[in-house]
Symmetry: C2
Amino acid sequence: MDETADTRQVATAYVDTLERRDWARLTTLLTDDVVYEMPQTRERIRGRAAFLRFNREYPGDWHLRVRRVVADGRSAALWLDVRVGEEALDALVWVDVDEAGLIERITDFWPEAYEPPAGREHLVERF
Amino acid sequence: MDETADTRQVATAYVDTLERRDWARLTTLLTDDVVYEMPQTRERIRGRAAFLRFNREYPGDWHLRVRRVVADGRSAALWLDVRVGEEALDALVWVDVDEAGLIERITDFWPEAYEPPAGREHLVERF
């Protein structure tokens, strides 16, 4: 496979192993010093051990499914359908792999629902 | 150029023309029946004319810069640095082009900053 196909595969496998809580497999996808960032809270986790623990300890009955993925060289963007208990939300994830194909950086965004501002009702429909 | 390179270019040009308020050029990048969606507010705008008006009327001194782009076939994901007045934020945009290379679908996410939940301070640093 080419680099883009490898990146697409590892990005998808990352989500699948999280969903299956397959920590052993997830470990094999990450560099030792993987960096995980959440820009909305300005939080950063350094290293595979801490990142695995973060996921093992993450509260709630969470489930992840890849809705869409685009890969380009050693970077991929994922759009996830997330379910936490009864709540459905979207997540946007950027993944970067190193030259060996291991994930070295993950950036997670969790956009929340909000009410639209007034003044554009003449242009939009709701879904 | 191949399809991916074309998609990467049109996705970048879309942001650049918005930033320059170059409505004439922006028009040439879009299909007649382009669909623009904001999943956080469940708003949808149908058609190039309404979408152009939405952007022309959008309030505030907004500025857009492409931080990152990944393209893959006829889809691209963009991570934008946005500035509205003094406020800096991120936007995540998914763009799909038709077989002629025109943008037929745009999905915009605007993740907002929030305070991290308690209980993970032992794993994270703040930036």
